[in-house]
């Protein structure tokens, strides 16, 4: 079994995405503003001209089951963020978002045109939630993350099904895509296709990066560094006896010149043997 290390150390984008995916629906339902996320042609666009719904409908899921599935999937997709760096991950999500919004806009435009002509409208309803982005991330996952192991089930003489370790992600994505029926199916398919075309270089956007990201992140990291240093010093003052704390109090000064790296708090093991305080006491009495 080979799974990426648990947790979000040095994976800020996945963390933020998961927190947002879980909290935005909660806050929206508490504040009763879920209606903002609905998008369908007939009343909102054709009558009320609420074009901002094209963007807002991609913000939040409205069913708890979809939220759950999306959170699990985003947690699995943290391997992608580790793989292609946070910066590129965020850039790609942004690219997918733009393409999907563009496509939805085009579809709605076509719909309006057809509506004016009085013809059949192929796409009337749009799902609430970032289905297209999740399936886009799924496409990256399938493209980059290698298969760790495969296994067979139902192994009779003539027939077997070979599955691999990515079966969980596949099934969850399928379930999420099926969850709102036809409209979520085609949206998911659209997101997957867009991502696939981007990854394979058919659509532009693979090399695009969010501008000023480095400056922003440096600004943010600078802040966290100073707070962490202060914490450690406070701790070391509180327990001056312990050798471990003393060691840690020394190390931040060592690490301070490295702004990028403070988030993952590189752990060099101390080769010199340091015994915890408790065992030092115990050893004293054992002799």
């Amino acid at each position: 079994m080979s799974i990426p290390p648990s947790g979000f150390r040095s994976l800020p984008i996945s963390k933020i995405l998961i927190v947002l995916t879980a909290t935005i629906p909660l806050i929206s339902s508490l504040a009763s503003i879920k209606y903002l996320y609905y998008l369908s042609l007939s009343p909102f666009i054709s009558e009320y001209q609420q074009y901002w719904r094209i963007l807002s409908s991609q913000i939040s899921f409205i069913n708890e089951s979809e939220v759950l599935l999306a959170v699990v999937l985003l947690y699995q997709f943290r391997a992608v963020e580790r793989f292609i760096s946070s910066y590129r991950y965020l850039s790609m999500i942004t690219v997918f978002w733009c393409y999907n919004s563009l496509l939805i806009t085009l579809l709605i435009g076509t719909d309006l045109y057809l509506n004016r002509l009085g013809l059949f409208i192929p796409v009337d309803k749009f799902p609430s939630g970032p289905f297209a982005i999740i399936t886009g991330l799924y496409a990256i996952y399938k493209a980059y993350i290698p298969v760790t192991y495969t296994f067979d089930i139902y192994h009779t003489e003539n027939y077997k099904i070979t599955l691999n370790d990515q079966i969980l992600v596949n099934l969850l994505t399928l379930q999420l895509t099926l969850s709102q029926g036809w409209c979520s199916i085609w949206t998911g398919f659209m997101g997957y296709t867009v991502a696939w075309l981007v990854i394979n270089g058919v659509l532009p956007g693979l090399k695009w990066r969010i501008p000023f990201y480095k400056d922003l992140s440096a600004l943010l990291l600078n802040k966290t560094t100073s707070t962490e240093g202060a914490q450690t010093v406070a701790l070391s003052n509180g327990a001056a006896d312990s050798t471990t704390f003393a060691n840690r109090a020394v190390s931040p000064n060592d690490e301070d010149d490295d702004r990028n790296n403070i988030m993952n708090r590189d752990e060099d093991e101390d080769p010199a043997e340091t015994r915890p305080l408790a065992s030092q006491f115990l050893d004293t009495f054992r002799r």
């Binding site: 290390p5 003489e157 993952n264 590189d266």
Partner: protein, 527 residues
């Protein structure tokens, strides 16, 4: 045997009973069935109640089969179990399915496993089995089994249809738009499957691509082999192992390689401390697994591994554990080069003494092992020599004994001196000691070999002249086995000097040198 009196239904019940309890004891079966009025269920219950070992085996089998089925599929088999095993007891109904489930489970669980699957999952088995069931067995199934079977059809048909339709659609799509195939190949070529991949080949691929893109001079000495192999080598040679995890898609990868890996100071550090350098591409399965095992959170990264001992204070003193390969430094993501080198250098400097100690210990152990081996070898050689000498001595002794036995036997076989006039020839022999012995031999009955024997007996001092020195034991048995007695001398006649052959076929009378009178000398042979 009142087999013949049974009605067909009774005979069928008997067969079923025997196959369920796996016994061939017809008499007992008949007795039980008679007592239960040919009710199969009651008969089975009474059988399992009266024989505890059968009951135990039944429990064992039903446990194993039910667990297997649950492992296969949670839904369908549990339904089937609930319906065919009401109350958890088999044999309530006599359908084929449960007999199939019980019988082979006893001797071959895997076979029964697949049998069960074939019964319950019609689409997963070969077509002929399904058609068999459909044609012949389906009619014989119980109502409950029929229901289950139909439910399975209802579940599996949509899946099967979807699978077939989608595969046909995909084929058509690919035929219509060849660009899909090109894109798919492009994508598939990048992906690696874990099966059948040679780690050495993967490593070589990485090294060649690395040298093509970054390091044209090839100064970095990568280890050509898999991750576990690298671990093994590092452990065996007590070297530092530096793992580099490369992600070509990562934004920092190029900069990391150019700034850190191709840095002159970095190369010097590696060369100076003889660091083993292994690289894993995380696009490949092995590199990905290695990065997970090393708990890397951020690519690209360098991980320094080294053998490490940990000392522990115990009441009985300080104990040092055996050296273990452990991660001593993780460099994750892009870090300024000086800092990377400083951190690696710190760790290497701190652990270098440990490694040197381990290496020295191993060398000493190796040396002492060699010395011990040499000593062992010398001891074995001398032992073998002694043993050979001992064996030779014993063989010599045995030979002596056999010779002596043969001589004694010959002595007992020797004919008395011939005194009949005209029938004997007088033979005189001068021994090497100067003594002269004389004897009359029969011309026809005794051969030239007898002369040799007589001389030998004299030389061995078993007889002096013609008188035996010891009492002749007439019961001496012949020599064990046939021995070819080697006389240590030749007999020659004096004038003219002719060798008398030791021949057991030539009577004395036919040899001119000794008949009628022979005057011989003994010529000792020295080998």
């Amino acid at each position: 045997m009142n087999h013949v009196n049974l009605t067909p239904s009774q005979r069928q019940t008997l067969t079923q009973y025997l196959s369920i309890v796996q016994s061939s004891d017809t008499q007992e079966a008949l007795a039980i069935l008679e007592s239960t009025h040919w009710n199969l269920e009651t008969a089975l219950i009474s059988h399992y109640e009266t024989t505890p070992h059968a009951n135990d085996r039944l429990n064992l089998i039903s446990n194993s089969t039910s667990s297997q089925r649950n492992a296969v599929n949670d839904n369908v088999p549990s339904q089937a179990e609930a319906s065919t095993f009401p109350g958890g007891f088999p044999g309530m109904s006599s359908s084929n399915i449960e007999r199939e489930a019980i019988n082979p489970a006893a001797n071959n669980t895997t076979r029964s496993f697949s049998d069960v699957i074939q019964r319950y999952l019609p689409f997963l088995s070969s077509i002929d089995i399904t058609s068999n069931i459909r044609n012949s067995d389906f009619a014989t199934l119980e109502t409950q089994s029929k229901v289950i079977y139909i439910i399975q059809w209802i579940i599996y048909v949509p899946v099967l249809i979807t699978y077939q339709v989608s595969s046909i659609l995909f084929v058509i799509l690919v035929k219509c738009f060849p660009i899909i195939r090109r894109l798919a190949q492009n994508r598939l070529g990048r992906k690696s499957e874990p099966t059948g991949l040679n780690p050495v080949q993967t490593a070589n691929e990485f090294i060649s691509s690395f040298q093509r893109y970054y390091d044209r001079t090839g100064e970095l000495d990568w280890f050509e082999g898999g991750y576990s192999n690298a671990l093994y080598v590092a452990k065996r040679d007590a070297r530092f192992l530096l793992c580099y995890l490369h992600s070509a898609e990562h934004d920092d990868a190029d900069e990391f390689v150019k700034e850190i890996l191709l840095n002159e100071q970095f190369k010097l550090l590696l060369k100076e401390h003889n660091v083993l350098l292994w690289a894993g591409d995380v696009e490949k399965s092995e590199g990905y697994q290695a990065s997970n095992a090393l708990e890397i959170m951020k690519y690209p990264s360098l991980v320094l591994l080294s053998l490490k001992t940990s000392t522990q204070e115990t009441p009985s003193g300080t104990t040092t554990s055996s050296p273990k390969l452990s991660v001593v430094s993780r460099i994750q993501g892009l870090i300024p080069t000086e800092k990377v080198i400083r951190r690696l250098k710190t760790q290497i400097d701190k652990l270098q003494p440990t490694l040197i100690t381990i290496r020295t210990e191993r060398q000493q152990a190796e040396l002492s092992r060699m010395i011990r081996q040499q000593q062992d070898q010398a001891y074995q050689e001398s032992l073998a020599k002694d043993q050979a000498r001992e064996t030779a001595k014993q063989e010599e002794l045995l030979k002596q004994q056999r010779k002596k036995g043969w001589l004694e036997w010959k002595l007992s076989q020797m004919k008395p001196e011939c005194t009949t006039p005209g029938q004997f020839s007088r033979i005189a022999v001068r021994l090497p000691s100067g003594a002269r012995i004389q004897r009359c031999f029969s011309k026809n009955e005794e051969t030239l070999e007898d002369i040799y024997t007589w001389v030998e007996l004299n030389l061995q001092e078993l007889i002096a002249g013609n008188e035996p020195l010891q009492a002749i034991d007439s019961n001496v048995s012949g020599p064990a086995g046939s021995i070819e007695y080697q006389f240590g001398f030749n007999l020659n006649s004096i004038m003219p000097r002719v060798k008398i052959d030791c021949d057991a076929t030539v009577p004395i009378g036919q040899c001119n040198g000794v008949s009628p009178n022979g005057n011989l000398v003994v010529e000792m042979l020295y080998q």
